[in-house]
Assembly symmetry: C2
Protein backbone atom coordinates (compact mmCIF):
# COMPACT_ATOMS: atom_id res chain seq x y z
CA UNK A 1 0.00 0.00 0.00
CA UNK A 2 1.17 3.49 -0.71
CA UNK A 3 1.79 5.46 2.45
CA UNK A 4 0.65 9.07 2.24
CA UNK A 5 2.99 11.52 3.92
CA UNK A 6 0.33 13.94 5.11
CA UNK A 7 -0.66 13.06 8.64
CA UNK A 8 -2.65 16.04 9.83
CA UNK A 9 -6.02 14.85 8.63
CA UNK A 10 -7.01 12.43 11.34
CA UNK A 11 -8.07 13.31 14.82
CA UNK A 12 -7.77 11.33 17.96
CA UNK A 13 -11.32 10.37 18.91
CA UNK A 14 -12.50 12.27 21.94
CA UNK A 15 -14.23 10.95 25.05
CA UNK A 16 -12.76 7.50 24.60
CA UNK A 17 -15.23 6.46 21.90
CA UNK A 18 -13.98 3.83 19.51
CA UNK A 19 -14.02 4.91 15.89
CA UNK A 20 -16.75 3.46 13.76
CA UNK A 21 -14.88 2.65 10.54
CA UNK A 22 -17.97 2.05 8.42
CA UNK A 23 -19.44 5.36 9.59
CA UNK A 24 -16.18 7.09 8.66
CA UNK A 25 -16.37 5.48 5.23
CA UNK A 26 -19.93 6.70 4.70
CA UNK A 27 -18.90 10.23 5.70
CA UNK A 28 -15.93 10.19 3.35
CA UNK A 29 -18.12 8.94 0.52
CA UNK A 30 -20.59 11.74 1.21
CA UNK A 31 -17.76 14.28 1.24
CA UNK A 32 -16.56 13.05 -2.16
CA UNK A 33 -20.03 13.24 -3.64
CA UNK A 34 -20.69 16.73 -2.35
CA UNK A 35 -17.29 17.94 -3.51
CA UNK A 36 -17.78 16.51 -7.00
CA UNK A 37 -21.08 18.37 -7.19
CA UNK A 38 -20.34 21.79 -5.73
CA UNK A 39 -16.55 22.03 -5.46
CA UNK A 40 -14.37 22.57 -2.42
CA UNK A 41 -15.23 26.18 -1.72
CA UNK A 42 -18.97 25.61 -1.57
CA UNK A 43 -18.70 22.34 0.40
CA UNK A 44 -20.00 22.62 3.94
CA UNK A 45 -19.88 20.19 6.85
CA UNK A 46 -23.68 20.60 7.00
CA UNK A 47 -24.09 19.36 3.44
CA UNK A 48 -21.84 16.37 4.10
CA UNK A 49 -23.72 15.55 7.28
CA UNK A 50 -27.07 15.79 5.48
CA UNK A 51 -25.84 13.58 2.63
CA UNK A 52 -24.60 10.93 5.07
CA UNK A 53 -27.67 11.32 7.33
CA UNK A 54 -25.36 12.02 10.23
CA UNK A 55 -25.20 14.78 12.79
CA UNK A 56 -22.70 17.55 12.30
CA UNK A 57 -21.23 16.77 15.71
CA UNK A 58 -20.35 13.29 14.47
CA UNK A 59 -18.27 14.79 11.70
CA UNK A 60 -16.55 17.27 13.96
CA UNK A 61 -15.61 14.55 16.42
CA UNK A 62 -13.67 12.90 13.65
CA UNK A 63 -12.33 15.80 11.50
CA UNK A 64 -11.71 19.26 12.81
CA UNK A 65 -12.33 21.13 9.55
CA UNK A 66 -13.50 20.58 6.01
CA UNK A 67 -9.85 20.68 4.95
CA UNK A 68 -9.12 17.73 7.26
CA UNK A 69 -12.15 15.84 6.00
CA UNK A 70 -11.35 16.35 2.31
CA UNK A 71 -7.68 15.54 2.63
CA UNK A 72 -8.27 12.47 4.77
CA UNK A 73 -10.77 11.32 2.16
CA UNK A 74 -8.27 11.73 -0.69
CA UNK A 75 -5.48 10.07 1.28
CA UNK A 76 -7.66 7.14 2.31
CA UNK A 77 -8.89 6.54 -1.23
CA UNK A 78 -5.43 6.79 -2.71
CA UNK A 79 -4.02 4.27 -0.25
CA UNK A 80 -6.95 1.87 -0.73
CA UNK A 81 -7.29 2.07 -4.48
CA UNK A 82 -3.91 2.47 -6.10
CA UNK A 83 -2.55 -0.95 -6.95
CA UNK A 84 1.11 -1.56 -6.18
CA UNK A 85 1.82 -4.26 -8.73
CA UNK A 86 4.86 -6.51 -8.66
CA UNK A 87 4.55 -8.66 -11.77
CA UNK A 88 8.29 -9.25 -12.13
CA UNK A 89 8.69 -7.15 -15.28
CA UNK A 90 8.89 -3.44 -15.98
CA UNK A 91 6.33 -3.67 -18.74
CA UNK A 92 3.84 -5.62 -16.63
CA UNK A 93 4.26 -3.30 -13.65
CA UNK A 94 3.85 -0.15 -15.73
CA UNK A 95 0.74 -1.48 -17.39
CA UNK A 96 -0.86 -2.58 -14.11
CA UNK A 97 -0.09 0.58 -12.21
CA UNK A 98 -1.32 2.87 -14.99
CA UNK A 99 -4.48 0.83 -15.46
CA UNK A 100 -5.15 1.08 -11.76
CA UNK A 101 -4.51 4.83 -11.73
CA UNK A 102 -6.74 5.35 -14.78
CA UNK A 103 -9.57 3.39 -13.12
CA UNK A 104 -9.07 5.36 -9.90
CA UNK A 105 -9.28 8.69 -11.76
CA UNK A 106 -12.31 7.57 -13.76
CA UNK A 107 -14.30 7.01 -10.57
CA UNK A 108 -15.75 9.49 -8.07
CA UNK A 109 -12.32 10.51 -6.84
CA UNK A 110 -11.47 11.88 -10.29
CA UNK A 111 -14.45 14.22 -10.28
CA UNK A 112 -13.67 15.36 -6.76
CA UNK A 113 -9.99 15.89 -7.60
CA UNK A 114 -10.97 17.96 -10.61
CA UNK A 115 -13.22 20.11 -8.43
CA UNK A 116 -10.28 20.62 -6.04
CA UNK A 117 -7.82 21.68 -8.72
CA UNK A 118 -9.48 25.02 -9.43
CA UNK A 119 -9.23 25.89 -5.73
CA UNK A 120 -5.56 25.07 -5.19
CA UNK A 121 -4.24 28.57 -6.00
CA UNK A 122 -6.58 30.09 -3.39
CA UNK A 123 -6.10 27.44 -0.72
CA UNK A 124 -2.42 26.97 0.11
CA UNK A 125 -3.02 24.44 2.90
CA UNK A 126 -5.27 22.40 0.65
CA UNK A 127 -2.67 22.54 -2.11
CA UNK A 128 0.10 21.23 0.15
CA UNK A 129 -2.08 18.46 1.53
CA UNK A 130 -3.45 17.48 -1.90
CA UNK A 131 0.09 17.16 -3.26
CA UNK A 132 1.34 15.23 -0.25
CA UNK A 133 -1.46 12.68 -0.40
CA UNK A 134 -3.06 12.34 -3.79
CA UNK A 135 -0.08 13.12 -6.02
CA UNK A 136 2.67 11.57 -3.95
CA UNK A 137 0.82 8.28 -3.50
CA UNK A 138 0.70 7.79 -7.26
CA UNK A 139 4.29 8.94 -7.77
CA UNK A 140 5.56 6.56 -5.11
CA UNK A 141 3.96 3.57 -6.79
CA UNK A 142 5.69 4.34 -10.09
CA UNK A 143 8.96 5.25 -8.46
CA UNK A 144 9.07 1.83 -6.84
CA UNK A 145 8.18 0.14 -10.14
CA UNK A 146 11.18 1.86 -11.75
CA UNK A 147 13.49 1.16 -8.81
CA UNK A 148 12.69 -2.55 -8.97
CA UNK A 149 13.20 -2.54 -12.74
CA UNK A 150 16.56 -0.86 -12.18
CA UNK A 151 17.45 -3.59 -9.69
CA UNK A 152 16.63 -6.24 -12.31
CA UNK A 153 18.78 -4.44 -14.89
CA UNK A 154 15.82 -3.55 -17.11
CA UNK A 155 16.50 0.19 -17.38
CA UNK A 156 18.83 1.78 -19.86
CA UNK A 157 21.69 3.89 -18.58
CA UNK A 158 20.65 7.43 -17.70
CA UNK A 159 16.94 6.63 -17.99
CA UNK A 160 15.01 9.78 -16.97
CA UNK A 161 13.13 8.13 -14.12
CA UNK A 162 11.71 11.24 -12.44
CA UNK A 163 10.52 12.54 -15.77
CA UNK A 164 8.87 9.20 -16.63
CA UNK A 165 7.03 9.22 -13.28
CA UNK A 166 5.88 12.80 -13.82
CA UNK A 167 4.77 12.17 -17.41
CA UNK A 168 2.64 9.19 -16.48
CA UNK A 169 0.70 11.29 -13.96
CA UNK A 170 0.52 14.19 -16.40
CA UNK A 171 -0.75 12.15 -19.35
CA UNK A 172 -3.59 10.59 -17.37
CA UNK A 173 -4.75 13.68 -15.48
CA UNK A 174 -4.58 15.82 -18.65
CA UNK A 175 -7.12 13.54 -20.33
CA UNK A 176 -9.28 13.39 -17.24
CA UNK A 177 -9.31 17.09 -16.45
CA UNK A 178 -8.62 18.96 -19.67
CA UNK A 179 -9.17 17.19 -22.95
CA UNK A 180 -11.95 14.87 -21.88
CA UNK A 181 -10.64 12.20 -24.26
CA UNK A 182 -11.11 8.60 -23.09
CA UNK A 183 -8.94 7.41 -20.22
CA UNK A 184 -9.24 3.80 -21.28
CA UNK A 185 -7.05 0.70 -21.67
CA UNK A 186 -6.13 1.66 -25.22
CA UNK A 187 -4.73 4.96 -24.00
CA UNK A 188 -2.85 3.35 -21.11
CA UNK A 189 -1.38 0.91 -23.63
CA UNK A 190 -0.19 3.78 -25.85
CA UNK A 191 1.41 5.60 -22.91
CA UNK A 192 3.27 2.44 -21.92
CA UNK A 193 4.29 1.38 -25.46
CA UNK A 194 4.91 4.74 -27.12
CA UNK A 195 6.27 6.74 -24.21
CA UNK A 196 7.37 5.02 -21.02
CA UNK A 197 9.12 1.93 -22.37
CA UNK A 198 10.96 3.87 -25.13
CA UNK A 199 12.13 6.42 -22.57
CA UNK A 200 13.40 4.13 -19.83
CA UNK A 201 13.72 0.49 -20.95
CA UNK A 202 17.00 -0.97 -22.11
CA UNK A 203 17.25 -1.94 -25.77
CA UNK A 204 14.30 0.15 -26.95
CA UNK B 1 -0.89 32.92 -35.58
CA UNK B 2 -2.90 29.98 -34.38
CA UNK B 3 -6.47 30.10 -35.60
CA UNK B 4 -8.97 28.95 -32.99
CA UNK B 5 -11.76 26.83 -34.37
CA UNK B 6 -14.48 28.09 -32.05
CA UNK B 7 -16.28 30.96 -33.69
CA UNK B 8 -19.40 31.43 -31.61
CA UNK B 9 -17.92 33.88 -29.14
CA UNK B 10 -18.06 37.12 -31.06
CA UNK B 11 -21.15 39.11 -31.81
CA UNK B 12 -21.86 41.39 -34.70
CA UNK B 13 -22.00 44.90 -33.25
CA UNK B 14 -25.52 46.22 -33.16
CA UNK B 15 -26.78 49.61 -34.26
CA UNK B 16 -23.91 50.05 -36.68
CA UNK B 17 -21.39 51.04 -34.00
CA UNK B 18 -17.78 50.34 -34.82
CA UNK B 19 -16.07 48.12 -32.28
CA UNK B 20 -13.69 49.77 -29.89
CA UNK B 21 -10.82 47.30 -29.82
CA UNK B 22 -9.07 48.80 -26.82
CA UNK B 23 -12.32 48.76 -24.86
CA UNK B 24 -12.79 45.10 -25.78
CA UNK B 25 -9.26 44.40 -24.55
CA UNK B 26 -9.93 46.11 -21.23
CA UNK B 27 -13.12 44.06 -20.80
CA UNK B 28 -11.32 40.82 -21.59
CA UNK B 29 -8.58 41.68 -19.13
CA UNK B 30 -11.19 42.38 -16.48
CA UNK B 31 -12.92 39.06 -17.24
CA UNK B 32 -9.63 37.20 -16.83
CA UNK B 33 -8.89 38.86 -13.51
CA UNK B 34 -12.33 38.22 -12.09
CA UNK B 35 -12.26 34.62 -13.25
CA UNK B 36 -8.84 34.00 -11.71
CA UNK B 37 -10.17 35.35 -8.41
CA UNK B 38 -13.63 33.82 -8.09
CA UNK B 39 -13.83 31.09 -10.74
CA UNK B 40 -16.23 30.72 -13.63
CA UNK B 41 -19.35 29.88 -11.70
CA UNK B 42 -19.19 32.94 -9.47
CA UNK B 43 -18.19 35.31 -12.26
CA UNK B 44 -20.90 37.81 -13.17
CA UNK B 45 -21.14 40.33 -15.97
CA UNK B 46 -21.71 42.93 -13.24
CA UNK B 47 -18.38 42.14 -11.62
CA UNK B 48 -16.57 42.32 -14.96
CA UNK B 49 -18.27 45.63 -15.78
CA UNK B 50 -17.33 47.06 -12.38
CA UNK B 51 -13.71 45.92 -12.73
CA UNK B 52 -13.44 47.53 -16.18
CA UNK B 53 -15.41 50.62 -15.09
CA UNK B 54 -17.81 49.99 -17.93
CA UNK B 55 -21.55 49.73 -18.12
CA UNK B 56 -23.13 46.30 -18.27
CA UNK B 57 -24.86 47.28 -21.52
CA UNK B 58 -21.43 47.80 -23.10
CA UNK B 59 -20.51 44.20 -22.32
CA UNK B 60 -23.82 42.82 -23.56
CA UNK B 61 -23.50 44.68 -26.85
CA UNK B 62 -20.30 42.75 -27.45
CA UNK B 63 -20.86 39.33 -25.83
CA UNK B 64 -24.24 37.78 -25.33
CA UNK B 65 -23.39 35.75 -22.22
CA UNK B 66 -20.59 35.15 -19.77
CA UNK B 67 -19.78 31.95 -21.65
CA UNK B 68 -19.21 34.00 -24.81
CA UNK B 69 -17.10 36.53 -22.95
CA UNK B 70 -14.90 33.93 -21.25
CA UNK B 71 -14.37 31.85 -24.35
CA UNK B 72 -13.66 34.82 -26.58
CA UNK B 73 -11.12 35.96 -23.98
CA UNK B 74 -9.36 32.57 -23.97
CA UNK B 75 -9.40 32.35 -27.76
CA UNK B 76 -8.08 35.86 -28.22
CA UNK B 77 -5.27 35.36 -25.75
CA UNK B 78 -4.29 32.02 -27.23
CA UNK B 79 -4.10 33.46 -30.73
CA UNK B 80 -2.15 36.54 -29.61
CA UNK B 81 0.28 34.89 -27.25
CA UNK B 82 1.22 31.47 -28.54
CA UNK B 83 4.32 31.78 -30.66
CA UNK B 84 4.38 29.82 -33.90
CA UNK B 85 8.11 29.46 -34.33
CA UNK B 86 9.80 28.42 -37.56
CA UNK B 87 13.49 28.23 -36.68
CA UNK B 88 14.31 25.67 -39.37
CA UNK B 89 15.01 22.82 -36.96
CA UNK B 90 12.82 20.47 -34.93
CA UNK B 91 14.81 21.09 -31.77
CA UNK B 92 14.63 24.88 -32.13
CA UNK B 93 10.91 24.86 -32.91
CA UNK B 94 10.07 22.56 -29.99
CA UNK B 95 12.07 24.68 -27.57
CA UNK B 96 10.52 27.95 -28.77
CA UNK B 97 6.96 26.73 -28.81
CA UNK B 98 7.19 25.11 -25.37
CA UNK B 99 8.85 28.21 -23.90
CA UNK B 100 6.07 30.32 -25.30
CA UNK B 101 3.38 27.99 -23.96
CA UNK B 102 5.03 27.89 -20.52
CA UNK B 103 5.18 31.70 -20.40
CA UNK B 104 1.55 31.89 -21.53
CA UNK B 105 0.45 29.46 -18.80
CA UNK B 106 2.51 31.25 -16.16
CA UNK B 107 0.62 34.51 -16.74
CA UNK B 108 -2.96 35.51 -15.90
CA UNK B 109 -4.41 33.11 -18.47
CA UNK B 110 -2.96 30.17 -16.53
CA UNK B 111 -4.78 31.15 -13.33
CA UNK B 112 -8.01 31.70 -15.24
CA UNK B 113 -7.67 28.38 -17.07
CA UNK B 114 -7.11 26.61 -13.79
CA UNK B 115 -10.25 28.21 -12.37
CA UNK B 116 -12.16 26.97 -15.43
CA UNK B 117 -10.98 23.38 -15.19
CA UNK B 118 -12.98 22.58 -12.05
CA UNK B 119 -16.14 23.72 -13.81
CA UNK B 120 -15.77 21.76 -17.04
CA UNK B 121 -17.70 18.68 -15.86
CA UNK B 122 -20.68 20.84 -14.92
CA UNK B 123 -20.61 23.13 -17.95
CA UNK B 124 -20.69 21.10 -21.18
CA UNK B 125 -20.81 24.15 -23.48
CA UNK B 126 -17.89 25.71 -21.67
CA UNK B 127 -15.98 22.43 -21.91
CA UNK B 128 -16.47 22.20 -25.68
CA UNK B 129 -15.52 25.82 -26.25
CA UNK B 130 -12.49 25.64 -23.91
CA UNK B 131 -11.20 22.60 -25.78
CA UNK B 132 -11.83 24.10 -29.20
CA UNK B 133 -10.00 27.32 -28.42
CA UNK B 134 -7.48 27.03 -25.64
CA UNK B 135 -6.37 23.42 -26.11
CA UNK B 136 -6.57 23.21 -29.90
CA UNK B 137 -4.59 26.42 -30.44
CA UNK B 138 -1.65 24.94 -28.56
CA UNK B 139 -1.97 21.53 -30.21
CA UNK B 140 -2.05 23.08 -33.67
CA UNK B 141 1.22 24.92 -33.10
CA UNK B 142 3.00 21.71 -32.14
CA UNK B 143 1.36 19.68 -34.85
CA UNK B 144 2.70 22.10 -37.45
CA UNK B 145 6.16 21.99 -35.87
CA UNK B 146 6.15 18.21 -36.25
CA UNK B 147 4.72 18.32 -39.79
CA UNK B 148 7.48 20.67 -40.93
CA UNK B 149 10.10 18.49 -39.24
CA UNK B 150 8.63 15.50 -41.07
CA UNK B 151 8.91 17.43 -44.35
CA UNK B 152 12.61 18.07 -43.63
CA UNK B 153 13.18 14.39 -42.88
CA UNK B 154 13.94 15.01 -39.19
CA UNK B 155 11.46 12.51 -37.73
CA UNK B 156 12.13 8.85 -37.23
CA UNK B 157 9.85 6.35 -38.90
CA UNK B 158 6.64 5.74 -36.97
CA UNK B 159 7.27 8.66 -34.62
CA UNK B 160 4.21 8.96 -32.32
CA UNK B 161 3.36 12.51 -33.32
CA UNK B 162 -0.10 12.79 -31.75
CA UNK B 163 1.22 11.39 -28.51
CA UNK B 164 4.14 13.84 -28.51
CA UNK B 165 1.75 16.75 -29.02
CA UNK B 166 -0.50 15.53 -26.22
CA UNK B 167 2.39 14.91 -23.81
CA UNK B 168 3.82 18.39 -24.28
CA UNK B 169 0.49 19.95 -23.27
CA UNK B 170 0.08 17.44 -20.45
CA UNK B 171 3.55 17.97 -18.97
CA UNK B 172 3.17 21.74 -18.79
CA UNK B 173 -0.39 21.94 -17.52
CA UNK B 174 0.28 19.21 -14.91
CA UNK B 175 2.99 21.39 -13.34
CA UNK B 176 0.85 24.50 -13.58
CA UNK B 177 -2.34 23.04 -12.20
CA UNK B 178 -1.43 20.05 -10.06
CA UNK B 179 2.09 19.76 -8.76
CA UNK B 180 2.90 23.47 -8.53
CA UNK B 181 6.54 22.71 -9.44
CA UNK B 182 8.30 25.40 -11.49
CA UNK B 183 7.25 25.82 -15.09
CA UNK B 184 10.58 27.36 -16.05
CA UNK B 185 13.13 27.13 -18.84
CA UNK B 186 14.95 24.29 -17.11
CA UNK B 187 11.78 22.20 -17.14
CA UNK B 188 11.02 23.04 -20.77
CA UNK B 189 14.57 21.99 -21.60
CA UNK B 190 14.09 18.64 -19.85
CA UNK B 191 10.81 17.99 -21.68
CA UNK B 192 12.47 18.71 -25.03
CA UNK B 193 15.73 16.81 -24.33
CA UNK B 194 14.49 13.89 -22.25
CA UNK B 195 11.07 13.31 -23.80
CA UNK B 196 10.14 14.90 -27.12
CA UNK B 197 13.38 14.55 -29.08
CA UNK B 198 13.97 10.93 -27.94
CA UNK B 199 10.39 10.04 -28.91
CA UNK B 200 10.21 11.58 -32.37
CA UNK B 201 13.62 12.65 -33.73
CA UNK B 202 15.61 10.47 -36.09
CA UNK B 203 18.85 9.00 -34.76
CA UNK B 204 18.05 9.52 -31.10
Amino acid sequence: MATPVYSGATRTPQRGRPRDASRDEALRRAALEVMAEVGYRALTMDAVAARARAGKATIYRRWESKLDLVIDTCAQLASQNLAQPDTGSLEGDLRESLRSFAAFLSGPIGKAAQALVGELPHEPELAVAFRETFLIAQREVLRQVLDRAHGRGELREGAPRSMAVELAGAALTYRLMLTGEPLDEAFVERVVEQVLLPLVAKGQ
